[in-house]
Symmetry: C2
Subunit: 83 residues, 2 copies
């Protein structure tokens, strides 16, 4: 599993749309609080590998491509452990 503490720093930019508490600011974006860690990794990698092109992929693809696999694991751990 990822390192949630390291993920917190990396996730600062995510808060802009997904909320500092993991509850999305805008109804069209997903809440991330308490989401399954493995799913978050899979979703971020799908954006990174350009396997997701619908919805907000235009925003998420560049965001995900800036993250290393370690960053992805840490950010996923950070949101997954949010209560």
């Amino acid at each position: 599993a990822g390192d949630a503490a390291a993920g917190k720093a990396k996730a600062a930019v995510c808060a802009a749309c997904h909320g500092v508490n993991g509850v999305a600011m805008i109804p069209g974006y997903p809440n991330l609080k308490g989401q399954n860690e493995q799913y978050l990794v899979s979703a971020l990698k799908a954006y990174k590998n350009k396997q997701r092109t619908g919805g907000m992929a235009a925003v998420m693809q560049p965001q995900a491509s800036m993250l290393s696999d370690t960053d992805i694991a840490n950010v996923a751990a950070y949101f997954a452990q949010m209560k």
Copy 2:
């Protein structure tokens, strides 16, 4: 917004992976309980339009393609209102 009551019947098949209470049975699948309705509609349509090919898209594309836009709105309303 969709009709959650109508969505409940349509969502029976979703429970197999996403759980009867919207908490995924398998860590690689997303929890849907309390997710944003508009996001769920956007994600289902992305699968239906084959704009998502990563992760479990092989399972989700056929599932979504069996749903009409009304079904999608209703299933999204059903999971969104789950507490």
